[in-house]
């Protein structure tokens, strides 16, 4: 069976969930061969093997942390040359898309970004995408070269599928461009202890209606009662009430959880773009005409300062 390269997103060897989802999708198209780069690369092997990687190609060098994007493109290109895969799958993060694009250009291949599903087809992998703020679903495929496809988080279930996961060293020669953009400082994000926004099963978001940074504690309390991640509209982020990393929407994160709860959010097209594919949508808004109600499975017309705390209380009581 043909091999499929999967680019591994990991933090010091801890594999992030979207990569495990990619392994599920990769198995539909071929045999997953993972490529893990940078500090802790070899430590990813156990988790990758557990989820279906037949091989794990690893390489560590300081360039991966010290320079932007290009060293990773060089490595992935080396992996493609070593393996001649049927496709290359990359997690659809901002960086993942940039790596994938440059790789595709070098390979003379087509690229599809932000796939939400992938299946085998007669003429290569067929990717499902959600476009125009998720109002259309398209099916596309790469018609030239080795398909390079980036896949959004939450596009497939993580499945255990034990495989050999044999670790092999990847030989990488960095290109002249590799050291073009220096990373002169890096401040890691502080962990909030809550689930990762794009990976969470439940997301609880607040918008302009929350009316102040201090009031976000109401949204956080609801999130914590459900074990959820916290999101925010751009209006709330622009007002400085919540960090931009939590923004949901076109220019923030795109989320597709089992449950999305929007409080004090009107439902502008750019916000919808980032949450419209959520399985169940719930909204609390005092304006019965707010467009968000067009999307909901359950909506409460009311003041979030009454409804949200009451909901949190009730959840706590029910959970005991």
């Amino acid at each position: 069976m043909a091999e499929v390269l999967v680019y591994v997103d990991h933090v010091d060897g801890a594999v992030r969930k979207p990569t495990l989802e990619l392994l599920t999708l990769a198995r539909r198209v071929g045999e997953p061969v993972a490529v893990a780069l940078g500090n802790g690369a070899a430590d990813t092997a156990a988790a990758l093997a557990e989820h279906g990687a037949v091989k794990v190609l690893t390489h560590d060098a300081s360039e991966y942390a010290d320079y932007l994007v290009v060293p990773k493109v060089d490595a992935l290109q080396a992996a493609v040359e070593a393996v001649s895969p049927a496709a290359v799958l990359v997690p659809s993060s901002a960086e993942g898309k940039e790596i994938a694009a440059r790789l595709a250009l070098r390979l003379g291949s087509g690229i599809i970004t932000d796939a939400v599903d992938l299946e085998a087809g007669d003429e290569g992998p067929v990717a499902t995408q959600s476009v125009f703020a998720a109002s259309f679903t398209t099916k596309s495929r790469v018609s030239k070269g080795t398909p390079v496809i980036t896949v959004k988080p939450n596009s497939a279930a993580v499945e255990a599928a034990p495989a050999a996961g044999a670790v092999e060293a990847l030989a990488v020669t960095f290109s002249a461009q590799a050291t073009g953009t220096k990373v002169t400082a890096r401040t890691p994000r502080e962990s909030t202890g809550r689930p990762e926004l794009t990976e969470a099963a439940i997301v609880v978001s607040g918008g302009r209606g929350v009316n102040g940074a201090e009031n976000f504690s109401i949204i956080e309390a609801l999130a914590d009662s459900l074990g959820a991640a916290v999101g925010a509209s751009r209006a709330a982020v622009d007002a400085g009430w919540y960090p931009h990393t939590n923004q949901v929407g076109q220019t923030g994160k795109s989320v597709s959880p089992q449950l999305y709860i929007a409080s004090g959010i009107s439902g502008a097209i750019q916000h919808r773009a980032g949450m419209q594919t959520s399985k169940t949508i719930v909204a609390i808004n005092k304006d019965a005409e707010a467009p968000i109600f067009e999307l909901v499975d359950y909506g409460v017309v009311g003041d979030l300062f009454d409804v949200v705390p009451a909901l949190t209380e009730e959840i706590k009581t029910r959970k005991g």
């Binding site: 933090v11 932007l68 994007v69 960086e95 898309k97 940039e98 694009a101 440059r102 595709a104 291949s109 087509g110 690229i111 970004t113 932000d114 703020a133 109002s135 259309f136 679903t137 099916k139 495929r141 018609s143 030239k144 461009q177 073009g180 953009t181 220096k182 002169t184 400082a185 890096r186 401040t187 890691p188 994000r189 439940i202 459900l226 990393t245 220019t251 449950l259 097209i269 750019q270 419209q276 169940t280 719930v282 609390i284 019965a288 109600f293 909901v296 499975d297 359950y298 409460v300 017309v301 009311g302 003041d303 009454d306 409804v307 949200v308 705390p309 009451a310 909901l311 209380e313 959840i315």
Partner: protein
């Protein structure tokens, strides 16, 4: 010293309009009003600020690849304060994908001459966010992308990139390709004076032959990907909406429990 900035701007269908596909499964650009992609206004704004903060002689060229109407996007950028514009227009460009677009832009940027390219973070229709990286790859210059803060001094571009795992400070020598996010600072509105001045600013038109690009390299024929189907997402089935009369929180909890979320 002089600094030549090329800002790439895209003319896109209005996101608040009823966007859809044409019969050949390309984005329908006829039925929905178009405009300068809002995310590219941030690129124009940063170019203007770099110019205002510089002792150098800065020239800002805005560049678009798109149909006849894409001139509107150039006009808007010129009225914000850019100096001149280039419009690459050719019937053979219809249906060009990101790889093809980056080819046309790269050739045009080289022909125009540049020290710094500034792009938006993503187009609001395609939303791929890959063209800036592709431009850097094609031009063989550093990519300093997705910046929420940018500055240029002594032939060096610096900026802050807020990523998922960390916030990074980046640095590269010019020439370089930069892209800026919507966190980089509100874009200015064109002033009346700006709008009047824009009418006299030069707009050059180039076609594929001006850029030594063959028709087969671009357009639907030249595309590296094929869209086989596009279906409108079924409208969500109407949900239950209740008015809070003191029991809203409880009712919602009941719903969540019925869906096994609690």
């Amino acid at each position: 010293m002089s600094l030549r900035i090329v800002v790439t701007v895209k003319y896109v269908p209005d996101a608040t309009g009823d966007r859809h596909f044409a019969d050949d499964l390309t984005v329908d650009r006829d039925d929905v009003d178009g405009l300068l992609s809002e995310l590219d206004e941030y690129a124009v704004e940063q170019a203007l600020q770099i110019s205002e903060n510089s002792d150098d002689d800065v020239e800002i060229t805005v560049l678009t690849v798109g149909p006849e109407d894409a001139k509107d996007a150039l006009r808007k950028a010129l009225s914000m304060g850019a100096d001149k514009a280039i419009h690459v227009e050719d019937d053979d460009l219809h249906g060009t994908d990101a790889l093809g677009t980056s080819l046309v832009l790269a050739k045009a940027i080289e022909k125009a001459g540049y020290d710094l390219v500034i792009s938006g973070m993503a187009s609001t229709d395609g939303t791929m966010g890959v063209v800036p990286a592709l431009l850097a790859e094609r031009l063989g210059v550093p990519q300093v992308t997705l910046l929420s803060e940018v500055s240029v001094e002594d032939g060096t571009v610096k900026g802050r990139r807020d990523g998922d795992a960390a916030s990074e400070q980046l640095e590269a020598s010019l020439p370089a390709v930069v892209s800026v996010t919507d966190q980089s600072g509100e874009a200015r509105y064109p002033s009346f004076k700006g709008i009047m001045a824009a009418k006299k600013k030069p707009v050059e038109s180039w076609d594929l032959s001006d850029l030594d690009i063959e028709a087969e390299e671009v357009g639907l024929e030249g595309a590296y990907t094929v869209v086989d189907a596009a279906t409108e997402r079924p409208a969500r089935t109407a949900g239950t909406i209740v008015k809070d009369e003191g029991e809203g929180g409880k009712q919602l909890a009941e719903f969540l429990a019925s869906q096994k979320f609690i």
